[in-house]
Amino acid sequence: MTTLLNVDNVYKSYGSLPVLKGISLTVEEKETFAIIGPNGAGKTTLFRVMTGEVLSERGRITYADHDVTGMSAHDRVQLGMGRTFQVARVFPEFSVEENIIVAIEARLRSRSESSLPWYRTRPRSSVREEAGALLQDLDLWSKKATEAKFLSHGDKKRLELGIALAGKPQILMLDEPTAGMSPSDRIATTELIIRLRAANAMTVVMTEHDMDVIFGLANRILVMNQGEMIAIGTIDEVRANPIVREVYLGKEMYGADG
């Protein structure tokens, strides 16, 4: 296995509030790495630092042999990072199909995979076909003409996943992919991610509160609390960790059986 993402002793604070206090982790190629922890632990902040939305104050981040510590977010995307947000962000005025088309075109433009002449107003047919295939994969084909602002919460989450996938990422970062979903939607989304992950040979980094989702998806886990690393390892290793048991006392950690 080769290491794809390496986070080394990263610090980040908002004003005088330290939120990340020396986080280190490595993500191997094609594994699924989960970050868990109570609310406010700093999971989203770690995501933002890894994707370049904000820069860390100390530490180093390398991705696929590039030092990306000070690199802008869009350059990291061009290197193969993709992400979703904890609260799904889609383009509300675009139709579902347009959301995907614009994401595919952005990939083609930013990675100069093929030239898109500025005067060609109609998206080329290959883009439409790719968008169609992706929408069918996501089970959004029947809603392709609906403006995204009219979508249900779950559909928005899936559409955002589609926007991220349209970038053909090597590593996909999902911030609480099933947040706010009904139990049945959770199961469906977990299965969807398993399917997409295999089909695209993707590495996945995710945060999640739902332990069933974690156990269903993750190979390794980092447990955070108040900006600190509590434990890191395989599911069994982490579950056996006494400090984790303390932080998660009485939580789903015991209930679910992986």
Partner: protein, 340 residues
């Protein structure tokens, strides 16, 4: 629906091109101004309605083009007129790049509005001090050029001839802006307006795209100014005045900033209001004020948005009667051209 649009569009073009045949000189002059202001308003709205950037000092780019063209024509430097228009575009683009590099790095919201406003006012005051540019009186009696096309030459001295030239020049620039707005580049701009972060995480260098939009807008604003100078035959510092900067904003809000044709509709409506109230001092401002108030409160997407909404309701009612009634609002993408 497509048929109605085509007919409507053709009718507008027909009216535009035939005005010299049936209207008096006064109306012809106003129609020429409408063409110029229309290009200006579309340039501004490329930033506002499409990219989500509010410039409150856009008249500066217009004035740069107008002064450049007016000065060159008066000095009779012998440069072909088309080249002058292009030069005005380049000057507008350069001014936009310079201000854009400084401003867009730091600020995009209200601060951008204030800074552009301030820069435009500084330019206006500086021009007012410049003897070469005629100080407060500006450049008067600008001659209308003739158009040398190599194979033919057209004298644009008469109002009719220059008006027809304006029609063609404005159509070319508007066509260019239409393609920009509806192509893959324009789609990225609309994405940036809706959610810059999401767009960044599609691998797009958002500041660079904003700067590009700013530059294009500055260029076409400068060209609008260049077209204006020989039409009005006078350019004064007023062309850089903040009141002139508000014209494209008001036109876009009235017509609908979210739609490409909104600023055009708004510009035409404003001139009609101005013209029909021309004999009653102060009434034009009052009517415009009331109209804007009503629009902002009742139809935030402007006249074009209102028309779309009415059409949608009509078609919804029609199809409701038959089987397979249309579903949710706006069930068709508006930003991507449908396959023919």
């Amino acid at each position: 629906m497509r048929l109605i649009n085509t007919v409507l569009f053709a009718a507008c073009l027909a009216v535009m091109f035939t005005i010299p045949l049936w209207a008096d000189q006064g109306i012809l002059f106003i129609a020429g101004l409408v063409l110029v202001e229309m290009v200006f308003a579309l340039s501004w709205n490329l930033l506002f309605g499409f990219t989500g950037l509010a410039s409150f000092g856009h008249a500066a780019f217009f004035a740069i083009g107008a002064y450049l063209c007016g000065y060159a024509l008066r000095a009779d430097i012998g440069a072909p007129f088309l080249l002058l228009i292009l030069a005005a575009g380049v000057a507008g683009a350069l001014a936009a790049v310079l201000t854009g590099i400084v401003l867009l790095r730091r600020t995009t919201g209200i601060h951008l509005a204030i800074f552009t406003l301030a820069l435009a006012e500084i330019l206006r005051i500086l021009v007012g001090y410049s003897t070469a540019l005629g100080r407060e009186d500006g450049l008067a009696s600008i001659p209308r050029p003739s158009l040398e096309l190599g194979f033919a030459s057209f004298d644009l001295a008469s109002g009719e001839a220059y008006y027809w030239f304006l029609c063609i020049a404005a159509s070319v620039i508007v066509g260019f802006l239409w393609l920009i707005c509806h192509g893959p580049f324009g789609r990225i701009l609309v994405s940036i307006r809706q959610d810059p972060e999401r767009t960044t995480f599609m691998g797009i260098n958002v500041p660079a795209y904003r700067l590009a939009a700013f530059t294009i807008s500055g260029a076409t604003s400068g060209m609008a100014g260049a077209l204006y100078a020989p039409w009005a035959q006078i350019v004064t510092p007023e062309s850089a005045h903040w009141i002139h900067s508000t014209q494209p904003m008001l036109a876009s809000l009235l017509g609908g900033a979210q739609s490409f044709w909104g600023p055009v509709v708004g510009t035409v409506l404003f001139s009609i209001i101005n013209y029909s109230t021309r004999n009653l001092v102060g009434l034009a401002e009052l009517v415009i004020g009331v109209v804007l108030l009503v629009i902002v409160l009742a139809a935030p997407s402007g006249v074009v948005g209102l028309v779309h909404e009415l059409r949608r309701r009509l078609t919804a009612r029609v199809s409701h009667a038959g089987p397979g009634a249309e579903g949710k609002a706006g069930s068709k993408g508006k930003f991507v051209q449908e396959a023919a």
